[in-house]
């Protein structure tokens, strides 16, 4: 999917993302300075807000949870050779699927049946929403980027329609569904830790973080230790070699998208089951796009995705805190930074790989001279 850079592998995987991040931070910092804030003050407040208190840390991890799901989704699709921009729509459908089965069955089923059922139903919905564009790409040649963008819009209109017309709790002015029965709630961090005797402040952080980490492990094992994952990566890397090996590319394209959609759908568990306990309009709110930044920064590896997710979670949470402390700051600065990260890690990495390679060569040359 991308051209190899002139850098040695360690620099390509380890150093270049850091350099790209640094450049993105630098540019964002310049913007911050230009609008009259102090970049250092903002940065300090950001770090403090994200990690300085248990509550802040919880929020950071709560945001990171959604990003892990969407980041993994984009990463798996990339390994299959596809760019899945449809994370927003797939996450929306995931939440919808979970909510539908929760509204229907939560009063009668116990939690330990309800929650897996919600996860399953959400995953099926998300899978479907991704597999259709995948099928269209594999079997009809429709560009998956355009179709997933269209499906994002279709998902949001579908959600609005259902919430406004079908699912709204009777007599409710707000555009949201009825609340689920308690069995459809994921335990929050506070409840979990209280069970262990630890006093932890309330926050949206919930057990879906554990689900996210589990998903990371599962993705890792799938991609690098399962036969399907092996074949998927072969198709994504070299369709000609895959064909030679008797692997059918089209099947694996659809599979990659389906898995991707299922992963993105789990944002629904975080938001709908873990936080709100009902279906609301804006529960995805950009997580799909952040997932792209996360996957690019994390070089499409689960460990990288987790690290990048925590980074972005910190930026979101820290950004919210900074908005309180520093006048004139808003969450949108984080959005902007996120855009810069996508730009520099994604599209402009070649622009920066060359000077970086030159620097490395100069250092090596000097080192060789002295050595």
């Amino acid at each position: 999917m991308s051209q190899p850079t002139a850098l040695p592998r360690w620099a390509d995987i380890g150093l270049l993302p850091i350099v790209c991040l640094a450049v993105a931070l630098l540019v964002a910092g310049i913007v911050v300075a230009l609008v009259g804030q102090s970049p250092w003050q903002v940065l300090a407040a950001l770090v403090q807000g994200a990690f300085g208190t248990p509550r802040g840390l919880s929020y950071t991890l709560y945001y990171a949870t959604s990003f892990i799901f969407t980041g993994l989704a984009v990463a798996v699709a990339f390994h299959g050779g596809l760019f899945n921009i449809g994370g927003e729509g797939q996450a929306t459908l995931g939440g919808l699927g979970a909510a539908l089965v929760a509204l229907w069955l939560s009063p009668v089923l116990p939690g330990w049946v309800m929650l897996p059922l919600m996860l399953l139903c959400g995953a099926l919905f998300g899978m479907l929403w991704a597999a259709i564009p995948g099928y269209l790409q594999a079997y009809r040649g429709s560009h998956v980027v355009i179709t997933t963008i269209m499906f994002n819009f279709l998902a949001s209109t579908l959600l609005v329609y259902l919430l406004v017309n079908q699912l709204r709790a009777p007599g409710n002015v707000a555009i949201e569904s009825a609340a689920f029965a308690p069995s459809a709630h994921l335990m929050s961090a506070r409840e979990l830790l209280a069970g262990l005797g630890v006093d932890w402040p309330g926050s949206p952080l919930n057990a879906s973080l554990l689900l996210a980490l589990l998903a990371c492990v599962a993705v890792y094992f799938f991609l690098w230790h399962s036969r399907s994952g092996y074949r998927l990566r072969a198709v994504g890397s070299s369709p000609a070699a895959a064909a030679y090996a008797g692997i059918r590319p089209r099947r694996h394209i659809v599979l990659a998208m389906a898995i991707s959609g299922a992963l993105a759908s789990m944002v629904g568990m975080n938001e709908v089951a873990g936080v709100s306990g009902k279906l609301v309009l804006e529960f995805v709110s950009g997580a799909g796009f952040t997932g792209i930044a996360v996957a690019l920064m994390g070089r499409n590896h689960p460990v990288g995705v987790v690290l990048a997710s925590v980074l972005f979670g910190a930026l979101f949470q820290g950004g919210a805190e900074v908005a309180f402390d520093v006048p004139g700051f808003s969450r949108d600065m984080v959005v902007m930074l996120q855009g810069f990260v996508v730009l520099f890690s994604g599209a402009m990495s070649y622009v920066m790989a060359r000077p970086l390679a030159a620097v490395l060569r100069a250092l090596h040359w000097r080192g060789a001279k002295h050595g």
């Binding site: 592998r9 230790h225 399962s226 036969r227 399907s228 092996y230 074949r231 990566r233 072969a234 890397s237 070299s238 000609a240 070699a241 895959a242 064909a243 030679y244 090996a245 008797g246 692997i247």
Partner: protein, 513 residues
């Protein structure tokens, strides 16, 4: 007949070009006289295309100089080449399918910004050109609707329109039927008569002999021969192209190969056209028996690659049938690569980097490509990394793949070691039929003998081996029987004992045995 001009049309002196590790041109001196037809021949990878790409400005040479009509020139891009009077007709046509013929010719040299006003003078000039050269093309037709022969005429017209006095044609007859090729030759002779210098890049020796005044032979990036056509012969040229004097001494067989009566592979009437509609296989039939190596000789480009694709299941023929290892396949329900491996048919492809290995994978993953479903590598859908690593280590040990690091990326191995890994993988499955394409391309001398001995050992243990190679020596060193392919069909079959340079040369040139 080329007249005597004081200044050669083109002189390339000391051209040197390297791509990474590969030396594409090594101190090449190439001179072409004015108003002559000059053939430039050589095998794939010999360096002819690189040389012409340098001349046309696609990339600069590392060293060397170029003189056009006696004037030293710097050619940094296609624009400067065109300005020097150099025109090129590429092997893969440089045409925009959705535009008309006229628009394609005009592109880059439009006399006016307003298209309709620009078209009129262009049309006039083109019609005059068509008259004088005999190259007719429907100017208002969309290129997508033009047949291959017409597209080529259009390409030549395009070059002449831009004022080419030196015309380079890269493998022009690769896409033409015999009659169309004759028409092209008539046009080229006409152009020469009008003073145009033509350089013909080809690997078809008969054409060069029929058409050219002078021929230059390249091999491995160097010019190995340069002579007027009167002194050239098919055999001489073939020999210069492929290298060492043909060796007929073979090591004595360790085990007298048992040739069974029933063939393990029987293919009949294979026909295949490529995406552009050119016939690549024109009724190929062959038999393979257990315990023999059959070599397919012939200058590459005559259908050998397509034959391997069809026999291995990568492509299905339009018509024909195949019986292999007890299974029947008709063109409607052809073999596929997965089934091939299941029944014991292995394939070492010609294009190592694109097909045989996944470059982004590490060696231990590439080492099971195509066999990842086997129980020794996979259990209940999970890959057995330990077993895979071990298997890779064994393969590397047996075939002396260096460095012995299973975790190294496939891309990082040298060409020869990549090839050894591929061979280790395919041979390690103890196939009963083995299809091999260019087994020693890019492999160092030391490894070549090892690979030969492995192939012979396969044969001795009862495997049926089909060997495709552009190196005639290789075919003669290994084969028990030799088939020669020309223009998509088998032109002759010889037992190894009956093979001689002369007979093979004749078969390769298309004459009957």
């Amino acid at each position: 007949m080329a007249g005597v001009f004081p200044v050669p049309a083109l002189q390339m002196v000391g051209i040197h070009k390297r791509f990474g590790d590969v030396l594409a041109s090594v101190d090449v001196n190439f001179t072409v006289q004015q108003a002559s037809l000059h053939g430039l021949i050589g095998e794939n990878g010999a360096g002819k295309s690189t040389l012409m790409s340098v001349l046309y400005g696609f990339y600069p040479a590392d060293r060397g100089r170029i003189e056009v009509f006696g004037k030293p020139v710097q050619i940094r891009n296609a624009d400067e080449a065109i300005a020097c009077g150099i025109g090129m007709v590429h092997q893969h046509f440089m045409l925009v399918e959705t535009l008309s013929a006229l628009e394609n010719v005009m592109l880059g040299a439009e006399p006016h910004w307003h298209l309709p006003s620009a078209s009129a003078p262009v049309r006039e000039r083109l019609e005059a050109l068509m008259q004088s050269t005999g190259l007719y093309v429907a100017l208002d037709a969309t290129v997508a609707d033009l047949a291959v022969g017409e597209r080529q005429r259009l390409e030549i017209l395009k070059a002449l329109f831009r004022g080419a006095r030196i015309l380079i044609l890269d493998e022009p007859t690769a896409v033409l039927a015999p009659q169309e090729a004759q028409q092209l030759f008539a046009v080229l002779r006409q152009l020469r008569a009008q003073g145009t210098t033509v350089i013909l890049i080809t690997h078809k020796l008969k054409e060069v002999l029929a058409l050219c005044d002078q021929v230059t032979v390249m091999r491995a990036g160097r010019v190995v021969d340069d002579m007027p056509i009167a002194r050239a012969s098919v055999e001489g040229l073939a020999q210069a192209m492929v290298g060492r004097k043909v060796q007929l001494d073979r090591p004595p067989a360790v085990v007298t190969p048992q040739r069974e009566a029933t063939p393990v592979l029987l293919a009949q009437g294979l026909h295949l056209r490529d995406a552009s509609g050119v016939q690549r296989l024109a009724g190929v039939g062959l038999q393979l028996r257990a315990g023999e190596i059959v070599g397919i000789a012939g200058v590459s480009g005559n259908g050998q690659s397509e034959l391997l694709d069809v026999l291995s299941g990568l492509a299905a023929p339009e018509s024909g049938s195949m019986q292999v290892l007890g299974r029947q396949f008709a063109s409607a329900a052809w073999l596929d690569p997965f089934t091939a491996r299941t029944i014991g048919l292995a394939h070492v492809p010609e294009d190592r980097q694109a097909r045989a290995l996944v470059m982004d994978f590490e060696a231990w993953e590439s080492a099971v490509l195509g066999y990842e479903h086997l129980p020794q590598y996979c259990r209940a859908g999970w890959m057995r990394a330990g077993a895979m690593h071990q298997a890779t280590a064994e393969m590397m040990e047996r075939f002396d793949v260096r460095p012995r690091e299973a975790a190294l990326g496939s891309r990082k191995f040298s060409g020869g070691n990549q090839q050894k890994l591929v061979l280790a993988r395919e041979l390690g499955q103890a196939p009963r039929v083995l299809l091999v394409g260019q087994p020693t391309r890019g492999v160092d001398i030391g490894a070549i003998e090892f690979i030969y001995s492995q192939l012979r050992a396969m044969r001795d243990h009862g495997c049926a081996v089909l060997l495709v190679s552009s190196e005639l020596d290789e075919i003669l060193a290994l084969s028990d029987r030799v088939l020669v392919m020309v223009q998509g069909r088998i032109s002759g079959a010889l037992d190894i004992a009956d093979c001689s340079e002369e007979r093979l040369g004749l078969l390769m040139a298309g004459a009957s045995a």
